[in-house]
């Protein structure tokens, strides 16, 4: 990828222009990182803003119109909706497990079948998440199956 840095005139505002034929995963990730500043995300805990690395997150869960992020030790709240998180999070690591949950693939300890083509994912904190039938193909694709 070619990177060009231009010197703007005095009246011009600093600007980043992305020239591409289509927004592939790498460019989207880069853009998201630019938008969000880093691989860290803003969360809320006890009315305070906390920065947490995306890699630390086990899963996101939507409960009563609120979205929570779970790490090994903590639970944080985010103001983003699950569909917004899906756009921000790296698609090769995070996937929708069911209507209310987004899981970090790297934090899955094991998978076992559940009734009716569903699967149960045991996460590294021992928490169990059901992967709905319609989201199983995406998981398989992520795992290269």
């Amino acid at each position: 990828m070619k990177i060009t840095i231009l010197d703007p005139s005095v009246v011009e505002e600093d600007e980043i222009i992305v020239k591409c034929r289509f927004l592939d995963e790498d460019i989207t990730l880069l853009l998201n990182q630019l938008k969000n500043g880093s691989s860290k995300m803003n969360f809320y805990r006890d009315n305070k803003i906390v920065l947490v690395d995306k890699k630390e997150i086990l899963f996101f869960e939507s409960v009563d119109d609120k979205v929570f992020a779970y790490t090994l030790e903590d639970v944080f709240e985010t103001k983003l909706k699950l569909y917004e998180l899906e756009q921000i999070l790296p698609a090769k690591n995070f996937f929708r497990a069911n209507k209310a949950v987004i899981v970090n693939l790297n934090k899955i300890k094991s998978l076992s079948p559940a009734f009716g083509g569903r699967f149960e994912a045991v996460l590294k904190n021992g928490y169990k998440v059901i992967i709905s039938r319609s989201y199983v193909p995406k998981l398989k694709e992520l795992l290269g199956l």
């Binding site: 094991s110 079948p113 199956l145």
Partner: protein, 141 residues
């Protein structure tokens, strides 16, 4: 919807195969290997397989259920397939409720087919889970 139709077709073929396998075994044991089935009997078998497959549609939801609810759903499905099979079987005079020796083998076909089909699906899911767990291990390395 496309995925659901695909699943129902696959369930239909498995139920149909299951009924034919279990039915053949039981008929061979009960009435001998020269037993013949009429076209109406074959139509009945196809109808049962079709209705039992369609009955599974409400279970193909993305809602997350607890294990208890899933067991209840399984029991409801089993009751549903019994109602369908017994109704069609009674209508086609395959058995009589008053004659236990005709009713029990028929119930055995229903239960046997149910167990066989569920076992096939469970085995497929176990294999898929094994493959995914293997890939997860590779990811960790």
């Amino acid at each position: 919807m496309k995925e659901k139709i695909k699943f129902i077709i696959s369930l239909f073929t498995r139920i149909l195969s299951g009924i034919i396998i279990i039915d053949t075994i039981i008929l061979c044991l009960r009435t001998g290997k020269n037993t013949q089935l009429s076209l109406i009997d074959i139509f009945g078998i196809i109808l049962i397989a079709f209705l039992c497959s369609v009955l599974y549609l409400p279970f193909l939801t993305d809602k997350v259920f607890s294990k208890r609810k899933m067991i209840i759903m399984n029991v409801l499905y089993y009751i549903g397939i019994n109602i369908i099979s017994l109704s069609i079987g009674f209508w086609l005079k395959w058995f009589y409720f008053t004659k236990l020796s005709s009713f029990l083998p028929f119930e055995l076909v229903i239960t046997g087919t149910y167990v066989l089909v569920m076992f096939i699906f469970y085995k497929i899911d176990i294999d898929t889970a094994d493959k995914m767990n293997q890939k997860l291990k590779e990811f960790e390395i």
